[in-house]
């Protein structure tokens, strides 16, 4: 049991409730559940206030945000390097078929495609779109929507907010369109 919790991917019915507990833990220590705000804090800290009023905030009051970020990186390190998974991703047959069609097969050993997310591919058109353009859209979109999967998808929906429902609808309009139509084209580049 302990071994599989450390060295194997968790099923959704363990992961989801664990996220719910952390939602509570954050409120209990006096913070709120939302990750994308950390990018605003970082922009302010790096001097964004000189260019836009949006970043003229007292980032020192939000420094906890960046401590939280450091924690996340350490958590990722524990999960990927200290206790690496011994198996790949158990995807559905339909997904596997479409991945193989695009020449992606690293799902059998890793959860992030080694065909795309490397320093070598970063300098190809394909890698540039997936990593650099993708990151730009994540940053811009979550600031415009004022939240991401944690802030809207979990916190907002749990608070029964109509605005969050609209945002989540947007996530899927953008995400599914790109996944069905654009990714197969980018993979051919």
């Amino acid at each position: 049991m302990m071994h599989s919790l450390l060295y194997e991917p968790w099923p959704w019915f363990v992961t989801g409730p664990a996220i719910g507990l952390l939602y509570f833990a954050l409120y209990y220590v006096g913070k709120r559940f939302g990750i994308s705000g950390t990018y605003k804090t970082a922009c302010s800290m790096l001097g964004g206030g000189k260019f836009a009023d949006y970043f003229k905030i007292n980032w020192k009051a939000d420094i906890w945000n960046l401590v939280f970020v450091a924690g996340m990186v350490i958590g990722g390190y524990l999960a990927g390097v200290v206790f690496p998974n011994e198996v790949g991703v158990d995807l559905s047959a339909a997904t596997i078929a479409s991945l193989e069609e695009m020449g992606l097969s690293s799902y059998s050993e890793t959860m992030i495609p080694s065909e795309i997310y490397t320093w070598e591919t970063l300098f190809s058109l394909k890698g540039f779109i997936f990593i650099v353009i993708g990151g730009l859209f994540v940053g811009f979109g979550t600031r415009y929507a004022d939240g991401c999967t944690s802030g809207h998808g979990i916190s907002g929906i749990a608070n029964l907010e109509y605005s969050s429902l609209i945002a989540v609808l947007g996530f899927f309009i953008g995400g599914s369109t790109v996944t069905y139509f654009l990714i197969p084209i980018i993979m051919k580049l």
Partner: protein
């Protein structure tokens, strides 16, 4: 002390999202094609448990660890900014395979090239700050 608590919650959050394959590009690809329950199950049960705590916090007027009554903030009403912003984020989510949290977590996980994606997301956030006043919003 406060920061140590948050560091610990952050470590737990990073570990949970990584072990739960929330940081997996493959899982995100699968979710956007509606081909598995996995990430829908993760988000669904996370919402369910969070909703329970949300109600508990509000109904019992619960106090946080410092004795302050916990307030759960609300988003502004509106459609345009959430729909357009959400769609733009969705595009980025599908491309990077990550929401903002997993971008950080993937770096620790060993996919160090995601440092570039984080910098790019910072640039995206910065660009938003520059053009914010020209975009349709319900609020200022």
């Amino acid at each position: 002390m406060k920061n140590i608590r948050l560091l610990i919650i952050g470590v737990a959050f990073g570990f949970v999202l990584a072990k739960g394959e929330v940081i997996s590009w493959f899982r995100v690809y699968e979710m956007f094609r509606f081909e598995s329950i996995h990430l829908f199950g993760v988000i669904g049960t996370a919402v369910f448990v969070s909703m329970f705590f949300n109600q508990l916090i509000k109904r019992s007027k619960m106090k946080d660890i410092d004795g302050k009554i916990i307030e759960i903030p609300k988003f502004y009403d509106g459609i345009v900014q959430y729909l357009i912003g959400g769609t733009i984020f969705g595009i980025g989510w599908a491309l990077t395979g990550s929401c903002p949290g997993p971008l950080y977590i993937q770096i620790g996980y060993g996919t160090t090239v995601m440092i570039v994606a984080v910098l790019s997301a910072l640039l995206g956030s910065f660009l938003y700050g520059l053009v914010k006043n020209y975009l349709p919003h319900k609020h200022k």
